[in-house]
């Protein structure tokens, strides 16, 4: 793939002049953080996305791939992160979908079942052809996806984060199968950000960051440090004035929290920690290692299936959001435009969305008190330096940073005891970023507890009083003091190369 550039219609640049090369018969890792553009690049190769510019060459010949059918015709197959299977159909039916052989009017099921069985045995991935897909385990579903593309004649296999949903045993099996395929001459592109797995399986690695290639390396000749630095980036020190932490009593505590996933592997696996008033607890981790499930469980938006989460002495239950917020939890969600605001409402309306039933402010004999609302809104716009003509303009007309400030104003004006900030400065301009960070520190100094989930390591290192690192639904590390901790160290834990002792983690996480 030569000089591939992909710009989405909304202006997001997913790939910028990326050149990507794979040799026949190798397992090649495509690596980088979430949102780096790995999946987009592979979707271009599989014909699911069209590149804005650039060309694709296979065996030295330039090819035109307009849809998945073209790609399959050229021997390229892709196993998506989310399985493309039909649960109520059998293994055989899923495999032959689109390439059915007839006998008379109907499908020749007998020969199809034999073919599926034979192929399974040949590649050491046998599945009972008559089982319904909904009865398969996640690992088996993955085998089925691979069989599906093998039967279509694929010689180049793209696997998009195949181990994300697998248990360690299933991962081991998958790796054995993939190595077996490589030895039979297949080419495999393995998308992953787990360095330990890449080392075990792959021959070479291409690293992508912010849509650009950061180099191709043979895995023999490069250290983990160099790799993780290229994936996560160098750290620029961030200076936020921060007085000494005055830690108070426990505000939020999680005990052995479990969130089950689709397969046998839980998304959150017995997570325990305590958050005290007057401190900022940071949570680091490559996206998709359980952070969203944890935040959803704490805020009552999502379920948890085991253990207990206590917030100011009462248990948190899913759907209990109103009570949770009333008891003093503020939430700055990751997905600003869906959870953070209502895009069609005005700035003021968004600002008072959680306070409209408060009789002190807004209801006068059952009616809305517009004067009071306007005064409050003007006050907030001043306090938070929100750039807008007035409170009546639609919030969608504001910039990302100012929208985030509206969210911040709403959440913080309710005097919370706890603030959950999930990626609070993502996509926010520099000025607003600094403002938001200072506000978070100010809240902490006034005795509020802050849980900060972020993919920005500088932000985490600059703001947190304590820092937890998540990997595969568990904590890989906990730092009770950040002295001497840098991005490099964090990177090793985030990518699963290092892991602190369980006892040590649970002691310092309390």
């Amino acid at each position: 793939m030569k000089n591939i550039t992909k710009v989405y219609p909304n202006g997001v640049v997913a790939n910028r002049d990326v050149t990507f090369e794979v040799n026949t018969g190798e397992i090649h890792a495509l690596s980088g953080e979430n949102g780096a553009g790995k999946t987009t690049l592979m979707k271009i190769l599989f014909g699911e996305e069209k590149p804005t510019s650039g060309s694709i060459l296979i065996g030295g010949k330039e090819v035109d791939i307009r849809n998945p059918q073209d790609a399959l015709g050229l021997g390229i197959g892709m196993v998506h992160q989310h399985f493309m299977l039909v649960p109520s159909l059998t293994v055989t039916e899923n495999v032959i979908l689109g390439i059915e052989k007839r006998k008379g009017l109907g499908i020749d099921y007998r020969s199809a079942e034999k073919l599926v069985g034979d192929m399974g045995r040949k590649y050491n991935m046998y599945l009972d052809p008559k089982t319904k897909v909904r009865d398969l385990s996640v690992g088996q579903k993955q085998k089925l996806e691979i069989l599906k593309i093998l039967i279509r004649g694929a010689r180049i296999l793209i696997l998009d984060e195949p181990t994300a949903v697998l248990t360690p045993q299933e991962t081991g099996e998958l790796f054995a199968e993939l190595k077996n395929l490589r030895d039979q001459g297949f080419t495999i592109i393995f998308i992953s950000h787990k360095l330990d797995e890449i080392r075990e399986l792959c021959d070479r690695i291409t690293i992508i960051r912010h849509g650009e290639t950061k180099g191709v390396f043979g895995l023999e000749g490069i250290t983990d440090e160099e790799l993780s630095q290229r994936m996560i980036g160098r750290d620029v020190q961030l200076t936020v004035e921060k007085p000494e932490c005055r830690r108070g009593g426990a505000v939020l505590s999680a005990k052995e929290v479990v969130v089950s996933g689709d397969g046998d592997k839980p998304l959150l696996d017995r997570i325990s920690f305590t958050l005290h008033s007057g401190e900022i607890l940071g949570i680091a981790g490559v996206e998709g290692n359980g952070q969203s499930q944890l935040v959803d469980a704490i805020t009552g938006i999502g379920p948890y299936d085991g253990g207990e989460i206590l917030f100011s002495d009462s248990t948190i239950r899913q759907g209990d959001i109103r009570r949770i917020r009333k008891s003093g939890m503020g939430y700055i969600p990751e997905d600003r435009m869906t959870l953070g605001i209502s895009p069609s409402l005005s700035v003021t309306e968004n600002m008072i969305a959680d306070k409209i039933d408060d009789p002190r402010f807004f209801s006068k004999g059952g009616f809305i008190d517009n004067g009071g609302i306007d005064a409050f809104s003007r006050q907030m716009i001043d306090d938070y330096a929100i750039l807008c003509q007035n409170g009546d303009v639609s919030i969608s007309s504001l910039s990302g940073g100012n929208i985030q400030k509206v969210v911040l104003a709403r959440e913080m004006s309710s005097n919370p005891k706890l603030i959950i900030a999930n990626q609070p400065t993502r996509g926010v301009d520099v000025g607003a970023t600094e403002f938001i960070r200072r506000k978070l520190v100010a809240m902490r100094d006034s005795g509020c507890a802050v849980l900060l989930v972020s993919s920005d390591l500088n932000e985490l290192l600059g703001l947190s009083d304590r820092l937890l690192v998540m990997y595969g639904g568990r904590f890989a590390a906990c730092f009770s003091s950040l002295a001497g901790v840098d991005g490099q160290t964090l990177g090793r834990y985030m990518l699963g190369l290092d892991k602190q002792d369980e006892d040590e983690i649970s002691r310092s996480a309390m």
């Binding site: 039909v86 159909l89 039916e93 689109g98 009017l105 109907g106 085991g306």
Partner: protein, 316 residues
């Protein structure tokens, strides 16, 4: 004669099958559509237009076949319009279906008046009807002969179609694609089959089935077209499809249940029970059934999650 004697008479059973015929055709059409992932609310309108097209077609071509062809063509045209707007122009399927229904009730009266000068019915047109079939041997058996023999040819066809549609859905490549399409269109896409093409075919097949159901009303059940004669049967067919969980046999059973209550309501009027009340019963039962089903399903999912959570804790 008591009510029960009436219900347990051969005449009632024969009537039951007659009432069930249009429902069966349309609901089988709905099965195909729904399996492919499209909710086609326009069944009602397609039935109505085809009922009229069949009558007029047979009157003008002076042949039963001409009428049949006209009715089918009508169904295909309306389905193609629905499919174009829903699949290509990406309009909401409920709106497309409703548009077809609204169009149909006005259009049929308009055309009826042009052709006959009347707005109520087509009795002045000399149209053809589908004939009845006497099954040899069986027709001579008492009771059974009365029930099974002497029905309209379309009534037999409707029950045969249950098997045909089942075979098409579960044994042919097209059926496999239709089923996969409705459940996970990404699966279809990722193996290079066009989602929309499959759905287009499904909608057209549905149109054929539905238009036969409509023609039965004006060329079998009655011998003329009457304004708004479909009277909600298209919607009942959709309900039968939903209650039958989208399977041909289940849908047939649901359609028969609805038809049973339809027939029953006529008889129960003798008991001074309003027919509207009786006609309400199957729907109320369906709603109750679906609610219970939904509650059970969410509860069992919750239980499953809990169990997995416990398992993780125990394994620790």
């Amino acid at each position: 004669m008591s009510v029960f004697q009436q219900i347990f008479s051969a005449e009632f059973v024969a009537m039951w099958l007659r009432v069930a015929t249009p429902l069966l055709f349309a609901s089988l059409g709905a099965v195909i559509c729904e399996k492919s992932g499209v909710v086609n609310l326009g069944l009602e309108g397609i039935m109505l237009c085809s009922a009229l097209a069949g009558v007029i077609g047979s009157a003008y071509t002076n042949s039963l076949f001409g009428g049949f062809a006209c009715g089918i063509a009508m169904g295909l045209i309306l389905s193609a319009v629905f499919a174009y707007f829903h699949l290509v122009m990406k309009a909401n399927s409920v709106l497309c279906g409703t548009a077809i229904n609204t169009f149909a009730s006005g259009f049929t009266v308009f055309v009826l008046e042009i052709c006959t000068g009347e707005k109520g019915n087509s009795s002045s047109l000399k149209s053809f009807s589908f004939g009845t079939v006497d099954i040899p041997l069986i027709k001579d058996i008492p009771v059974i002969g009365e029930i099974l023999s002497g029905h309209n040819v379309l009534t037999y066809a409707a029950f045969i179609m249950v098997g045909v549609i089942w075979y098409m859905l579960y044994r042919t490549p097209l059926g496999l694609r239709i089923r996969a399409d409705g459940e996970n269109e990404n699966a279809i896409n990722s193996v290079g089959i066009s989602v929309n093409r499959t759905r287009f075919i499904a909608i057209l097949l549905c149109g054929v089935m539905t238009s036969i159901g409509g023609m039965y009303l004006s060329m079998g059940y009655l011998n003329m077209f009457v304004r708004d004669m479909v009277a909600g049967r298209g919607f009942i067919s959709l309900a039968a499809n939903a209650m039958g969980q989208c399977s041909p046999v289940g849908t047939m059973c649901s359609a028969l249940i609805f038809a049973f209550f339809d027939g029953l309501s006529n008889i129960l009027q003798l008991l001074r029970i309003p027919s509207e009340f009786v006609q309400m019963v199957p729907y109320a039962a369906t709603i109750a059934g679906l609610v219970i089903y939904a509650i059970q399903k969410t509860e069992s999912e919750k239980r499953k999650r809990r169990q997995m959570g416990r398992k993780v804790l125990e394994n620790a």
